[in-house]
Amino acid sequence: MNETVKKHSKLGKDKWGYIFLIPFFVVFLVFSFYPLIQTIYFSFFDHYFSQTDFDYVNKFVGLKNYKALFSAGTARLFFNTMILWVMGFIPQILFSLLLASWFANNRLRIRAAGFFKAVIYLPNLIMAIAFGMMFFTMFSRGGPVHQIFESFGMSKDYDLFFHIAPTRSLIAFINFIMWFGNTTILLMAGIMGINESLFEAAEVDGASQFQVFRKITLPILKPILVYVLITSLIGGIQMYDVPEVVTKGSGMPMNKDIFSTNVPAAETVIMRLAQYISKSKNYGSAGALSVMLLFITGILSFVVYKFMAKDED
């Protein structure tokens, strides 16, 4: 292929490769790369309102903003984000594995598989803000789900959103509903790629469905599982819309535990970042937090890349 292209294409044609790349790279440089440099730059400054100048000023503070990140408050934010992610991810991966192995099983032959797949994928396309708001309205006092709970003996005045465990569980549940369909489809594509004869041979040898799953499906699926785990983790770190709307941006309810910080139980890292940028104008802390996030997602992406590359050998 490479040879024929070189032979046939006249000299100079290949410069069009560069020309066609211009729009992408101009936009990338202006709207991603320059902002990234700005973000890093601001992480070394304090941005505050000066009473003498009657305006915001920047003061170089070196690594002060980074040092401030190593605090109980930041740890709490990451802990909140991770617990919300884990609570959603565990049922997500379990159900997805189960469903994917069923959908891909030729002998099981699920009828209307296309319909089921379409239904479980639907929540992934729904506006997270509207989906979160929907759940808030339905689970809050006077909402239909609250009314159903009342018929099982819950007090009419009980407000789920004043309590840590119910609030976190609801946010995790929303994430589960929104993402298990997507994961199912990804895993299914992986299972479909497994040579059918392996399953048949195992069956002839009398392996049970569970054994086939554990000894054939899972080991072959490992690279895709790692891919799903890490991309989901990267997505989890970015969790914002759902907890933002469910807690009205507050991250409430408040924590009263060993951390003894004043960080609410459902406030995520990105909720804090958004607050720094557009509300408190605390650009220094926002910058340092962004750099930290870049670092974390960079490492995670690198792991995926290495893992997938190793798998191809």
């Binding site: 070189k6 069923w102 729904i126 049970s208």
Partner: protein
């Protein structure tokens, strides 16, 4: 023991598979070896497990339950959109009410301009989806069809930036838009950045590998076609299936986006639907009108659901192709 399982399975096998599987002894041995290697014990010591019939029943039960769990919220949403605030607070209903027009009228008269919001969302989502898909195709074509210096490096670079979350650069982006470009409240900073879309690029470049033979482009060149018109007149029509799916994904992503628009759009005339939905959350107990809230939420999810009903098959197909590295 294993014989018994086999005899259980054989009738099933005959009913279910049209063509008898061509079982070579080599494959069987390979699988057996694999089983033994992994378990350390012979596969013949297996306990009898559930039959295929039982699994099928369980599968349908679980699938139905999960489907209900996915859909019930939309059902309740649309039902409640047709009921008044007082009807909603008195109890759950699974049949529609008669207040839909009333709720829509409230929506029209509200200070929260949801119809304007729908228009704003549509303008931003359409424009950014078209830019996203067209320029991703152009970028993918540059990598696919030309052999220039640094081509591989560019490809790897785009894949590397694919994983960077947009939030990481959002501080700089916000400062650039608001302070440097003075574009607060403008749609442009929400539309133009879609031109650089690594995920769409990745999907389209994969699609080109298997669907865009170089011989075709060579033939067009011999016919004297200009490079830009090859892209627009030959490549674009061939890419239609992939572009359509990516167009939908890009539209939906922009339609649902809240993080950046909420920072940049501030005046009431410029707000998009997610921003308006969010303001509902701030309504106090006193002036809360649930009928109004439900109809507003229904309006914001309905377009996506309608598009999905028509293109579900292509969209689900697009997820599995785009999501997994070949």
């Amino acid at each position: 023991m294993s014989k018994k399982i086999q005899s259980d399975l054989i009738p099933n096998e005959m009913n279910q598979t049209e063509a008898a599987p061509e079982e070579t002894s080599l494959q069987a041995i390979a699988a057996e070896e694999m089983l033994q290697k992994n378990s350390g014990k012979s596969p013949y010591t297996v306990k009898k497990s559930m039959g295929m019939g039982t699994i099928r029943v369980i599968a349908y039960l679980v699938l139905t339950a999960l489907s209900v769990l996915c859909l019930i919220w939309f059902y309740l949403l649309f039902i409640n959109a047709t009921r008044s605030h007082s009807q909603i607070t008195t109890g759950v209903s699974f049949v529609p009410g008669d207040q839909l027009l009333n709720n829509l009228k409230k929506l029209q008269n509200s200070t929260l301009d949801f119809f304007r919001g729908t228009l704003n969302s549509a303008i931003i989502a359409f424009s950014s989806a078209i830019l996203n898909v067209y320029f991703s195709m152009m970028t993918a074509y540059a990598i696919h069809a030309y052999r220039f210096k640094g081509r591989k490096a560019v490809h790897v670079f785009i894949l590397a930036i694919m994983m960077i979350p947009t939030q990481v650069t959002s501080l700089g982006f916000y400062r650039l838009v608001v302070d440097t470009l003075k574009m607060k409240d403008s749609f442009i900073p929400l539309i133009v950045p879609s031109i650089a879309a690594p995920v769409t690029y990745f999907y389209i470049v994969q699609y080109m590998k298997s669907n865009l033979p170089m011989s075709l482009i060579e033939a067009a060149r011999i016919d004297g076609c200009f490079e830009v018109s090859i892209l627009n007149r030959i490549v674009l029509p061939l890419m239609k299936p992939a572009l359509a799916v990516q167009l939908i994904f890009a539209f939906v992503a922009s339609w649902n986006n809240y993080y950046m628009p909420a920072m940049i759009l501030s005046s009431s005339k410029k707000r998009t639907l997610p921003i308006l939905i969010y303001t509902l959350r701030a309504a106090t107990e006193k002036d809360k009108d649930l009928g109004f809230q439900y109809v507003a939420m229904a309006l914001s999810v309905l377009p996506v659901i309608v598009v999905y009903i028509f293109f579900a098959k292509n969209i689900v197909g697009g997820v599995s192709v785009g999501g997994v590295k070949e």
